[in-house]
């Protein structure tokens, strides 16, 4: 079995599992307890907070543990919107290809009277900083731009965007769920005010993540209850999950440059191999993308059948076709970079990691070639394209 859907989730690392089990067995106390068992759990929690803060160049007091990336996105955006509205600022700038945790939150705010500007991400899947600056207004309450896209992996000019936001004194949030532990992030150097992360994207457990909030940026809590996380997020802390997240994050960053060098080389070989298939196109910039992300559109075929046949060959991947999203429209990300419906349905996302071997890469290339050719063999669209009755798009 070749798992090539690491953008969806990752396998927990052995070290993260060990941490989690050890905490569950030994430090199961409530960190709010004043007795020894509670205080040792509190120590585990605060050690994890320190490790997470260190990983992104933050102060531990700037880390709020959450149930994951979606909660962190919701809290950052809703908080900034409410605080902005209190000062008469009801405009938010974001991009057309954010994750739904961001887009759906913005939709909700629009219904409440906020105005949202979604920036074009162009054919290469990259935000233009000058366009972003032009979109800013006196009543802009927040700018939220993802660090790296979850489908096509393109890495945004975060540092430059952050600098523009600083100059205009507008809070800047980034959904870094796909980027953290895969590229170097330093919140101070990258001019980030708020950042969302999720543990299961970097070999940590599901159901845990964090929100970084820079000192001086106000944050409202979404969940009412106890005084955990300094009153910024109620609920007894998921100590084992948080500790495992810290382990996974520290571990991922340890040899990041070395790991990325290997993964990028394999990714580039994978892109090169798939590119040999006629009438296909890479989605997103070839260089400014996550080390493990490969995303292609193939003309004349549909993504779900491609995935099912790859699964039969032992390859687990994903697609932005409508049939895999449960809606009638293909991926909003592919539409945002200008892919028309006809070809957006025929997309394939392969997200590899350090465990994907050179042999795996060659097997994936061979399998994708076979399956695409097979499906085109009885595709009426392909027949019309080849016969010249229709124009090729790709």
């Amino acid at each position: 079995m070749i798992y090539a859907d690491n953008a969806a989730t990752t396998k927990m690392s052995e070290a993260a599992v060990n941490t989690m089990v050890a905490v569950l067995n030994e430090n199961w106390g409530n960190p709010s307890g004043l007795y020894t068992l509670g205080q040792t759990a509190k120590e585990v929690l605060e050690k994890a907070r320190q490790d997470v803060a260190d990983a992104i160049g933050a102060d531990p007091r700037e880390i709020i543990f959450t149930s994951g990336g979606s909660e962190a996105d919701n809290q950052a955006i809703i908080s900034a919107a409410r605080l902005g509205a209190a000062n008469g600022k009801k405009h938010i700038v974001s991009t057309a290809f954010e994750h739904h945790a961001v887009l759906h939150t913005l939709k909700k705010l629009e219904k409440e009277g906020f105005e949202v500007t979604l920036l074009d991400v162009h054919e290469d899947g990259l935000v233009r900083v000058d366009e972003l600056e032009k979109a800013l207004r006196d009543d802009t309450a927040l700018v939220t731009v993802m660090f790296a896209n979850n489908e096509i992996g393109t890495i945004q000019p975060i540092k430059e965007i952050g600098a523009v936001c600083r100059a205009h004194k507008i809070p800047f949030h980034t959904d870094a769920v796909q980027a953290i532990a895969h590229v170097h992030i330093n919140v101070a150097e990258d001019n980030i005010d708020m950042l969302s992360a999720s543990a299961h994207k970097f070999h940590g457990p599901k159901g845990v993540g964090f929100l970084y909030v820079k000192k001086g940026i106000r944050i409202l809590n979404l969940i009412e209850g106890g005084a955990q996380e300094k009153g910024r997020r109620a609920g007894t802390e998921n100590v084992a999950g948080i500790a495992a997240m810290a382990t996974a994050l520290t571990e991922s960053l340890k040899d990041l440059d070395k790991t990325n060098e290997i993964v990028k080389k394999r990714r580039d070989r994978l892109m090169e191999g798939i590119r040999e298939i006629p009438h296909c196109a890479l989605n997103g910039d070839a260089v400014k993308r996550l080390p493990g992300n490969v995303n292609f559109c193939f003309e004349g075929i549909e993504g779900e059948s491609l995935l099912l046949l790859l699964d039969d060959k032992g390859i687990q991947a994903s697609s932005g076709s409508a049939c895999t999203s449960g809606s009638l429209d293909p991926s909003h990300v592919l539409l945002a970079i200008g892919r028309v419906h006809d070809v957006a349905h025929g997309s394939l996302r392969l997200t590899i990691n350090e465990d994907t071997s050179d042999e795996d890469i060659e097997y994936i290339i061979k399998s994708v070639k076979e399956v695409v050719e097979y499906l085109r063999g009885f595709s009426p669209i392909w027949r019309d394209l080849v016969a010249g009755k229709k124009q090729f798009i790709l």
Binding site: G300, I301, E302, G303, E304, S305, L308, L309, D312, S321, A322, C323, G326, L328, P330, V340, H341, D342, H345, F378, S379, P380, I381, W382, R383
Partner: protein, 128 residues
């Protein structure tokens, strides 16, 4: 739980009657690329019997399986019987489809009917 029934997967993995009939008596194409599903049916009809049927499909697993099953259900049958094919019959023969995939069976029914309409328009209107 699996995404699809065993029957759907069988027809998806080993689709029956795939291909083209060059001298078809009736050809029908339904769906559009924008929605992600296109089915094309080719019929050969002798003495009001569907002697051969082939299909080509651009679409998801259940679209391919629905096309395949629809061809099986009408092959060798009188035209009048093929006209009665329903999407429900296609879905049932596949041991069911997920709710949001029922439109694939509708498309299969429409593709067959479109091919039969084409046959009638070419060969007179002896629909009864």
């Amino acid at each position: 739980m699996a995404l699809y029934s065993e029957k759907v997967m069988d027809h998806f993995r080993n689709p029956r009657n795939v291909g083209v009939i060059e001298d078809a008596d009736g050809v029908g194409e339904v769906g559009n690329a924008k929605c992600g599903d296109i089915m094309k049916m080719y019929l050969k009809i002798d003495d009001n019997i569907i002697s051969d049927v082939k299909f080509e499909t651009f679409g998801c697993g259940s679209a391919i399986a629905s096309s395949s099953m629809a061809t099986e259900l009408i092959k060798g049958k009188p035209v009048s019987e093929a006209m009665q094919l329903t999407n429900k019959a296609v879905a049932e023969a596949l041991d069911g489809l997920p709710d949001y995939k029922m439109h694939c069976s509708v498309l299969a029914e429409e593709a067959i009917k479109s091919a039969l309409d084409d046959y009638y328009s070419k060969h007179g209107s002896d629909k009864q």
